[in-house]
Amino acid sequence: MAKIRIEVITGERVVYAEDADIVVAPGVVGELGILPQHAPLLTALQPGELLVRKGNEEIAMAVSGGFMEVRPDKVIVLADTAERAEDIDLARAQAAKQRAEQRIEEQRDRVDLTRAEAALQRSVARLKVVEKRRKRQR
């Protein structure tokens, strides 16, 4: 089967770069599954789970927004942040979620609210990735 090259890059480093069978990404208008020979596409991403399947191996990453460029043989993800499931700090993600929820409840002003909601989305995405990974390991 044809492979597709996937590169996940953040402003700080290259997080992942390998040939894979399928990539599932959280686009702003919905989840996208990208197989080799996909038509060229450019999309913004929302916070969520980025899944890469390669043979029997499945790699999960949490991304917090960014962009994805799809070419027939290559997918480039320019993520704001991206972490492999095993690198996510569970306690920190939970704390961030609580903090964000608390801030939304207080609802001081519009700017804070939008920021808190974005933070909430990010932490939820991280937690989701971690939990999925745990289930698989059991």
Partner: protein
């Protein structure tokens, strides 16, 4: 022993302790430099891809009149300037080179400026010269993340969108190698997308072209600023390491010279003493 040798000995002691300090600073800078250099290199792929993406997008929206505020050109009447220097000195001519580049730019433009200063050295100089510093950022981490630097870029983006400034530039020290750092001035706003060569691919856009562009452009500016900050840090650590190495070498050379004159003085005093004793004995005989 006469006063002269004692003075020299004191001098040697003081130079030795200076050499110890500069040696330690050199080693600290060297280890920080390695990390800073690898960060600069690690962040380059992202900005290269971003450049490429933006080039494609710009080609796709080329037909539009004003696709996005950050691409809009205006007659430059007021200018925003982001000056990136280090917080500390002891790094040779690094800060003064960057500041000189900024000063020449300000003189050349002859237009009202709004300046955002990053780093104490640049800020102090600009304020002393009575420049219009609208914001300052100091005490930056040695290993900043993109999020640490976004407030700097957002000040300029906001001012630009509100037409408070019509152009924005960034001055920083580009890291070329451990021995070479070069001050650089770059235009930040309006964003100038790279020209793409080769056949133009037709993309599917989600949600749509302007939606993607609207998210991509601010991020592009943020990344440019982040990159400049990293370059500045790598430059500073490299320049400091080199400056401290030179200082250590000079101190060691000085210690050698001083030791030589100390020994000469000591020998001279011994010789005088002996000849005094000899002549004293002769007189008795």
């Amino acid at each position: 022993m006469p006063a002269n040798t004692r003075q020299i000995r004191r001098r040697i002691r003081s130079v030795k302790s200076t050499a110890q300090i500069t040696k330690a600073m050199e080693m600290v800078a060297a280890s920080k430099m390695r990390r800073a250099q690898s960060m600069v290199l690690a962040s380059r792929p992202y900005s290269e891809k971003m450049d490429e993406l933006l080039g494609h997008l710009a080609a796709a929206v080329g037909g539009f009149e004003a696709p996005h505020p950050l691409l809009q050109r205006r007659e430059p009447r007021k200018i925003g300037l982001l000056v990136i220097t280090a917080d500390r000195g002891l790094c040779g001519g690094l800060n003064s080179n960057t500041i000189r580049a900024a000063a020449n730019f300000i003189l050349d433009q002859q237009k009202p400026m709004k300046i955002v200063a990053v780093g104490k050295k640049g800020r102090d100089w600009l304020i002393r010269r009575g420049q219009n510093v609208v914001a300052e950022f100091t005490q930056m981490s040695d290993v900043p993340s993109l999020i640490d630097t976004t407030p700097m870029s957002h000040i300029l983006i906001d001012e630009y969108v509100n037409a408070e400034i019509d152009e924005a530039y960034i001055v920083y020290s580009q890291f070329v190698s451990t021995l070479v750092q070069r001050p650089l001035i770059k235009r930040l706003l309006p964003v100038e997308p790279a020209k793409v060569s080769g056949p133009n691919t037709e993309y599917i856009y989600e949600p749509d072209v302007s939606g993607v562009l609207g998210q991509l452009l601010p991020r592009f500016v943020e990344v440019e600023v982040y990159q400049a900050i990293l370059e500045g840090i790598a430059s500073f650590q490299s320049a400091q390491m080199v400056a401290m190495r030179n200082a250590t070498e000079n101190a060691n050379e000085l210690i050698g010279d001083l030791t030589l004159s100390y020994n000469r003085a000591r020998q001279a005093s011994i010789t005088t003493e002996i000849s005094e004793i000899v002549s004293g004995a002769e007189a008795l005989a």
